[in-house]
């Protein structure tokens, strides 16, 4: 159960930050759905609903997704459906039900660096950047690793507009359930980028497998070898959804399915 003593809805991010640093036990609210599941005493809840952060904008070289864009917005966005095989829309379509996706926000998920997230894995494969109010622009990869050193607010996620193609795969007990493991591969300018998440720890880049793919000609043998490299270099954990051994094995399957789909798109 959560308790909130005071709840404010600032009209802009400057005011939101003022509130955030005004009290020790303050907290930013995105959709607020996941917080519902936990137990917390919050002195000041700061809701960004009225801070004009709900948007998906296409610029010449970038796509910007505001922190308060909901998963529903991302799923339905024509801009994102067109971009890189529609990976972002695809990655979130199996998350619980549409009514929850119409509440959950990009900012709430990314800033919290949830390990179970499907969206983060897809964004990581796209080499997305995050724009923090105080921390400025950082790569998502670095942000996932180090988080924010002090209280901050995620303003938006920035994705470079490239002509690449990306694929997202996940293993779940049933559609709508949390992923047991997820994996995303993007190919931009001939270079592969692989992200693996729901390990169940937060998503990471599979750098050795990526390096192998980028230095070798891709054939069945190379795919087999890359899948083994990926499984070996990744640290998997166990939780009620699956054991580390199980995740180790299915990582190879997800990888093969994803890379084959990327290659099929090229042909």
């Amino acid at each position: 159960m959560i308790t909130i003593k005071e709840y404010v809805m600032p009209k802009n991010i400057d005011k939101a930050y003022e509130y955030l640093i005004s009290k020790k036990n303050s907290m930013i609210f995105g959709g607020g759905a996941f917080i519902r599941m936990g137990s917390k005493n919050i002195a000041l809840g700061i809701d960004l609903s009225k801070a004009n952060l709900r948007y998906i904008n296409e610029q010449d070289n970038e796509i910007e997704i505001g922190a308060m864009a909901t998963f529903g917005d991302i799923e339905r966005s024509e801009i994102l459906k067109r971009f890189s095989g529609g990976i972002l829309s695809i990655a979130i379509k199996d998350i619980v039900g549409i009514q929850l996706r119409n509440i959950v926000t990009l900012g709430g998920t990314v800033y919290s660096r949830y390990g179970f997230s499907d969206l983060i894995t897809a964004l990581l494969a796209l080499d997305a950047k995050v724009k923090l109010y105080k921390g400025g622009v950082r790569t998502l990869e670095e942000f996932l690793e180090n988080g924010s050193k002090s209280k901050d607010i995620l303003e938006k996620v920035i994705i470079s507009k490239t002509d690449g193609f990306s694929v997202f795969k996940s293993m779940r007990n049933s559609k709508g359930d949390y992923a047991i493991l997820n994996l995303a591969i993007s190919k931009v300018d001939g270079k592969y980028r692989i992200a693996i998440g729901a390990r169940p720890q937060r998503a990471i880049i599979s750098s050795q497998a990526m390096d192998f793919l980028n230095k070798n000609q891709i054939n069945d043998k190379a795919i087999e070898k890359a899948s083994n490299i990926l499984a070996s270099e990744t640290v998997f954990g166990s939780n009620p959804r699956g054991s580390s051994k199980y995740r180790h094995e299915i990582s190879k399957v997800l990888f093969k399915r994803a890379i084959e789909e990327v290659m099929a798109n090229e042909n």
């Binding site: 959560i2 308790t3 909130i4 003593k5 005071e6 709840y7 809805m9 609210f29 959709g31 607020g32 759905a33 519902r36 599941m37 919050i42 809840g45 809701d47 609903s49 009225k50 529903g72 379509k93 619980v96 039900g97 549409i98 009514q99 929850l100 119409n102 509440i103 559609k175 709508g176």
Partner: protein, 155 residues
């Protein structure tokens, strides 16, 4: 704190506490069609429309509704009756507990997707759990309902 909302077309100013969820607020104000099922955003029974979008009122903090328009099944009674007829005809309304949420999701699907495929229907209904009848009958009922609406529209 006070929030200003429009519920089923009527403007209301409601007193809510900062950690109150919309399902409670609405039920406390007489909108008893809303079922409180899982209370964790999983079962879909508390589905309402917020500015026309289907959302789960059990995980939506009431303050977030400030300045927005809420539709509960009380506000779409005629449409709901039409849908319910097909659910009953297919025998997929046994205990009825999930019914209001399911109907709100069906109305949302109808609004969002023209001529939905079976896959579309299942996708939009995935967030609504039924523990009595399963989903094959629901799918039949929804398809029959949408076909009938299409036939009506083409007349």
């Amino acid at each position: 704190m006070k929030i200003n909302v429009k519920i089923n077309g009527i403007k209301k100013a409601l007193d809510v506490s900062p950690d109150e969820y919309l399902v409670e607020t609405l039920r406390n104000n007489g909108y008893m069609s809303l079922r409180k099922g899982c209370d964790t955003g999983s079962c879909g029974m508390c589905t309402i429309h917020l500015d026309g979008e289907a959302v789960l009122s059990c995980v939506l903090i009431s303050a977030k509704a400030d300045g927005h328009e809420i539709t509960t099944i009380e506000g779409v009674q005629e449409e709901a009756k039409d849908v319910a007829k097909y659910l009953v005809d297919e025998g997929v309304d046994q205990c009825g507990f999930c019914g209001t949420g399911t109907i709100m999701s069906i109305l949302y699907l109808e609004k969002c997707v023209d001529n939905p495929t079976d896959e579309d229907i299942l996708h939009y209904l995935r967030g609504n759990l039924c523990r009595c009848t399963g989903y094959a009958g629901q799918l039949r009922a929804i398809k029959r309902y949408l076909e009938a609406k299409n036939d009506e529209g083409s007349k």
